[in-house]
Amino acid sequence: MDHKKLKELISSYHDGELDDKEKQEVNDHLNQCAECRREFEEMGKLEEVMKKMQLKKPHKEMWEVYWTSIYNRLERKIGWIFLSIGAMILLFFGGYKAVEGIIQDPSISLLLKIGILTLLGGVVILLGSLLREQIFVHKRERYKEVEK
């Protein structure tokens, strides 16, 4: 067995991941290879230090509010969706009524009617373009097809 392979096994030896046969292979090799014996000792020291390293624990309160915070954000999201849908319905209804009123009002000059309708047409086209862009982005969203 080559040295690179043996060094990988030495690393796994310290991780407690070798079966008895593999351990025996490593031990046999260590008895006759000073370089790998040194590697074994150094890896052992690294293992000792790494096992003692710990990440900082957060305050207990963080765990107490962890789920609440997620729950609130999920609730808020649903609130925003309803608010947006309601606002869009009102906007379209108001827009429709306004256009209807302008067209039927004989006191408004034809030029003004054309100006207002062109302005509204522009707004509708811009909104439509934004909406299409959002749908395009959503379709290519990176996490859309997250692996199961």
Binding site: K7, D15, E17, E42, V49, Q54, L55, K56, I70, V146
Partner: protein, 215 residues
């Protein structure tokens, strides 16, 4: 021996690890352990099926079960407590929105983990774009331990590892996972996990050598 021929070796390392982590690991990898928990008469699958029907309260059980693991893994990746909290919570929110795509016959955590890992990677890219100078070393190691300087140097070394090597180091040493558990979580063969760990440890050994005199 060919790496792909290696069989998973499950070792009982519970005696070597903090009780909190041992419990969390059982929750991640053992369906039986999840089922016997006092507060949870329902299996994870049943809970997730309720979540798929829109039950947010049921999702709370899932979040509470995995929040510790999610937070600490994110902390290992993003190096900052506030960012780890934000990213792990964002991942739970994202997972809730995608929950209908989840196959309830599969364990939840590996699916969630892949989603959170992508968020962590995006977060790191965003941070790098925003700061022209290298990111400041955040103090994320437990301060109550000895050999602070050496451990800080090792932590810096971990941060500078390629992501696939850093990932296996975080899971192996900060979540005490076996090779088989890591392989399941990251969706790679055990041989790849073994190899990545070896190369990562080789680099870290070089850093440790400067402090222990075996450079």
């Amino acid at each position: 021996m060919n790496k792909s021929d290696r069989k998973p070796v499950y070792k009982d390392r519970k005696k070597d690890m903090p009780e909190e982590i041992a419990l969390q690991k059982e929750q991640i990898f053992s369906a039986e352990a999840a089922q016997v928990e006092v507060k949870r008469a329902l299996s994870e699958r049943e809970i997730l099926e309720s979540v798929q029907k829109g039950d947010k309260e049921a999702y709370g059980l899932i979040v509470k079960r995995y929040m510790h693991s999610a937070y600490y893994i994110a902390l290992g990746f993003v190096h900052n407590q506030q960012d780890a909290l934000d990213v792990s919570q964002d991942a739970f929110i994202k997972a809730f929105r995608k929950i209908k795509m989840f196959d309830t016959h599969m364990p939840f955590f590996p699916w969630f983990y892949r989603l959170m890992k992508n968020l962590c990677l995006d977060h790191l890219k965003r941070k790098r774009r925003m700061s022209e100078v290298p990111l400041e070393d955040a103090k994320v190691l437990d301060e109550a331990r000895d050999d602070r300087e050496m451990k800080e140097a090792l932590w810096k070394g971990i941060r500078e590892l390629p992501f696939d090597q850093r990932e296996v180091i975080i899971l192996r040493y900060f979540r005490q996972m076996s090779y088989a558990e890591i392989a399941e979580l990251i969706g790679r063969p055990i041989g790849t996990v073994m190899s990545s760990l070896y190369y990562a440890k080789k680099k870290l050994k070089g850093i440790l050598g400067k402090y222990m005199g075996f450079e």
